[in-house]
């Protein structure tokens, strides 16, 4: 019995592992190999290039600064919402995660409309202060970190909020019973216990900021970061150098990952869930009013980008120049989107590519998660590594790897021509979302009692029937949640797309960028609103699907 189980594990595991080796590992190996195609030539070129030094340094500075900025917003907000009760708390809680709902490029252009040189807020401040020129310019490292802080603090907020919710309230009580003051409790008990959540979210922000493309691309000005540098080298035909830069970017990410693991090395405990403590009502009337005012301002700051994109989507292209707000409004932008086939094309492209990628994610990640959770076989460790690997590789590096690998038909070396076809972008989306979907499904399966599978088979059910009636239902919440996340990120994907797209398969994000370059702000905003709408639609669809089944 045991041996047939093992053989059967390998029967599923072999194709899954092979597929992941081919799509996840092979392209990266190709990039590294490509960087050495003329010995150390490209590496010497990289080492001698001041532009590349600047790019590497700037990337690291932006990533670290984004981590600190996100922590500075996310941690206090999590404490405020998790520990205190005040008028407006529910509203603030509801919009606190809103920035995460903005596709990366949309967040960037929303900031452009608000805080750019001719943005709404900039103009208002300029008018109020009676200045000749804009009070600031949305350019450089500061601007990039500003946008990152807005979109990425959500990770910190969610991790720390979850940590606070799981926080065993009696630990706090025990400390106070032993005579510890509020400050001593925070410093010696609460914060140390939240460190895992803080470190985990900080790592997530670091990785995202390091691979971030849209903010540096739009706000960078003359600033170089590694991800934009890679695209520039590729566009200029300096492929060897692009491979070196990609390798350096991936290595930086892995180094960051290892650094965080090392910092968190001593932890052996997990927070036990025994019910968080009750939120404390703010008693002082004055503090209550101040808190509510602050909450209201945060709510406005969080919602404003969304509102601004919606507003600009009704603005007539080219009419908004020096005014505080766009002067003319029209439905024209939307009408053209739905009526002109060239403008409609990116929408069908994005939707179909996202669906293909998500379907592949669901099948492959379900099998992988099933094997990881329930089977003991020799390749399990390898499979776990393969599934997590895309997470540690910045999307630009993934994209460049695909460009380097699937650019020719050569069955002998396992290459097929996908670059320039429809399939290359879904493949990139698929790879990027593997860790997300796999961990969601794993999470669901781990909640299932492992003996259920044995029980089903003991009752005479075939493997397929067991899969269909026992395993799949257990995996369903993870499949729905993971599939939704995959579809949402794929439909708005920008970073890999910008490396791999062609005119015929261009996704919405590329079209937004093109419209922006043509100063057609209204059309760009209309696409953005459509994208947000698509994300909303998918979320509602997933929810109703889950409710119907549950």
């Amino acid at each position: 019995m045991k041996s047939s189980f093992r053989r059967q594990s390998w029967l599923i595991a072999f194709p899954v592992i092979l597929l992941l080796l081919w799509t996840v590992v092979y392209p990266n190996v190709a990039v590294i190999a490509g960087s050495f195609e003329n010995g150390f030539g490209h590496w010497r070129e990289f080492a001698a290039s001041p532009a590349d030094h600047e790019a590497l340094w700037t990337s690291l500075v932006i990533s670290v600064a984004s981590v600190f900025a996100s922590l500075a917003i996310g941690v206090p907000l999590a404490f405020l919402l998790g520990r205190f009760d005040f008028p407006g708390r529910r509203l603030l809680r509801a919009v606190a995660t809103l920035p995460a709902a903005l596709p990366p490029l949309v967040g960037v252009i929303a900031f452009l409309f608000l805080y750019g040189e001719s943005g709404l807020v900039t103009r208002i401040v300029q008018r109020v202060l009676g200045m000749q020129e804009a009070p600031w310019r949305l350019k450089g490292i500061g601007a990039i970190v500003f946008v990152h802080a807005y979109t990425m603090y959500v990770y910190v907020f969610l991790f720390v909020s979850a940590g606070l919710e799981r926080f065993d309230a009696t630990l706090d009580e025990a400390a106070s019973g032993l005579g510890a003051s509020t400050w001593q409790r925070l410093r010696r008990v609460t914060l140390p216990l939240l460190m895992p959540a803080v470190a985990g979210s900080a790592l997530l922000v670091f990785m995202n900021a390091l691979g971030s493309f849209s903010a540096p691309y739009v706000f960078g000005g003359g600033l170089r970061v590694l991800s934009t540098q890679i695209l520039a080298s590729k566009t200029n035909g300096a492929l060897g150098l692009a491979y070196v830069e990609t390798t350096v970017l991936a290595l930086s990410a892995v180094a960051g990952l290892l650094l965080f693991r090392w910092l968190d090395r001593k932890r052996k405990y997990t927070l036990a869930s025994k019910g968080g403590r009750k939120r404390r009502e703010i008693r002082s009337r004055r503090v209550q009013i101040l808190t509510s005012i602050a909450a209201a301002m945060i709510v406005i700051a969080l919602v404003l980008p969304h509102l601004m994109v919606v507003l600009v989507s009704f603005a007539r292209d080219g009419a908004w120049t020096t005014q505080v707000l766009p002067p003319e409004y029209t439905f024209e932008n939307y009408r053209r989107l739905f009526s002109e086939s060239e403008l409609w094309r990116p929408i069908t492209n994005s939707v179909s590519m996202a669906l293909v990628a998500t379907a592949a994610n669901l099948v492959v990640c379900f099998l992988a998660a099933y094997l990881i959770v329930f089977r003991r076989f020799a390749g399990r460790g390898l499979l776990e590594l393969l599934v997590a690997l895309p997470w540690a590789i910045p999307a630009t590096a993934i994209a460049l790897g695909l460009a380097a690998t699937f650019n020719t038909n050569d069955l002998f070396t396992g290459r097929i021509l996908l670059v320039g076809t429809f399939w290359i972008l879904p493949l990139a989306y698929f790879i990027r979302d593997i860790p997300l979907v796999a961990s969601a499904v794993e999470g669901s399966l781990r909640q299932m009692d492992a003996s259920l599978e044995d029980a089903a088979r003991g009752l005479g059910a075939s493997w397929l029937l067991t899969m269909r009636r026992v395993i799949l239902p257990a995996a369903r919440p993870g499949l729905v949640a993971g599939g939704l996340l995959a579809a949402v990120t794929a439909v708005g994907e920008f970073v890999a797309s910008v490396v791999l797209y062609t005119h015929s398969n261009r996704p919405i994000s590329m079209e937004i960028l093109a419209q922006l370059r043509a100063l057609a702000f209204g059309t760009a905003a209309a696409y953005s609103v459509l994208l947000i709408f698509l994300v909303l639609l998918m979320t509602l669809a997933a929810r109703s699907f889950e409710e119907r089944l549950a």
Partner: protein, 360 residues
Amino acid sequence: MTAAPQARDGAGVLALNGVSRRFGEFAAVDDVSVEVGPGELLALVGASGSGKTTTLRIAAGYEQPDAGTVTLGGVDITRVPPERRGFGMVFQHYALFPHMPVEGNVAFGLEARGVSKAERLEKALTALTSVGLGGAGDRAIQSLSGGEQQRVALARALVIEPRALLLDEPLSNLDPTLRQAMRDDLRAMLRRVGVPALFVTHDQEDAFAIADRIALLKKGRLLQVGTPEELYEAPESREVAAFIGRGTMVPAIDRGTTASVTIGGRMHELKVNRPKGMSLPYGKAFVVLRPEALELVGQGGNSAWTGRVVNRRFAGGVIVYRVELAGGVTVDVESASGNAHEDDNVAVSPTKGPFPIVPE
């Protein structure tokens, strides 16, 4: 083991005076008054939802009573926050800090008081030694067994030289064998500290084994306070009699020092026991027939209650028979002999009084 002072100087009586705590419409604690003297062990006993934990949390300062006061040595401490009360608390799940080693946990209360590192490590070692864990200072909390965690929690509470000790279900997380052993240890350790000790338990066996006095709570109200013997032998009400010990309550006519009980047409005049200071006689009353107060007699006993054995259970040294008496009353009878079997017809005689009597 180091010798701790028997009755600490300045240790005063811990008293709850008519405390109440409501959560919305629900009265968790309703006008409860208890006093615990220095060196005394008082158990708050009750089913879940009886308000015993809320009462303990009021004593500790984690809950504020809506009415009533908490005093220590006559000083009102109702509004003193937990961090300034100087009480030692042992939580049900111990609430040990998972990110600190054993000695860090034990020394934390001293750290909060600004004690120097050398001194607090020395005191932590002394406290750990006193609970039999002298060598465990640098171990991780996760590596400890349940019993060891419980000792660490106790050492952590003792090292701050508490003015009172509060324990929330101190034995509930231990497995049954360990539990028996820890009862005696805990009692000895609490006794040595010499301060008022208040502990919560839902297990009357624990309460009997450890406490000097028991306060029985039901639905937030205090039913009775007394020594274990008083609660067992002279319960004040049907509720106390039903909660403490086993037994069957049967209607009786109270005649003062005796009461007459009629079952299946046969009347017995039983000597009864009632709490001191209770008015007598009760109008309508119930007598508690405890298993050890009844006896199986041969079928020939002329005044005995007759019945049929419906269940026979060996309980270590004695046999417990469940007997369905004529008249529909079911009683448990403890007997040294195992001669009777299920479905046998037997006679039961109430021989070993006095019997507890409670008003309806």
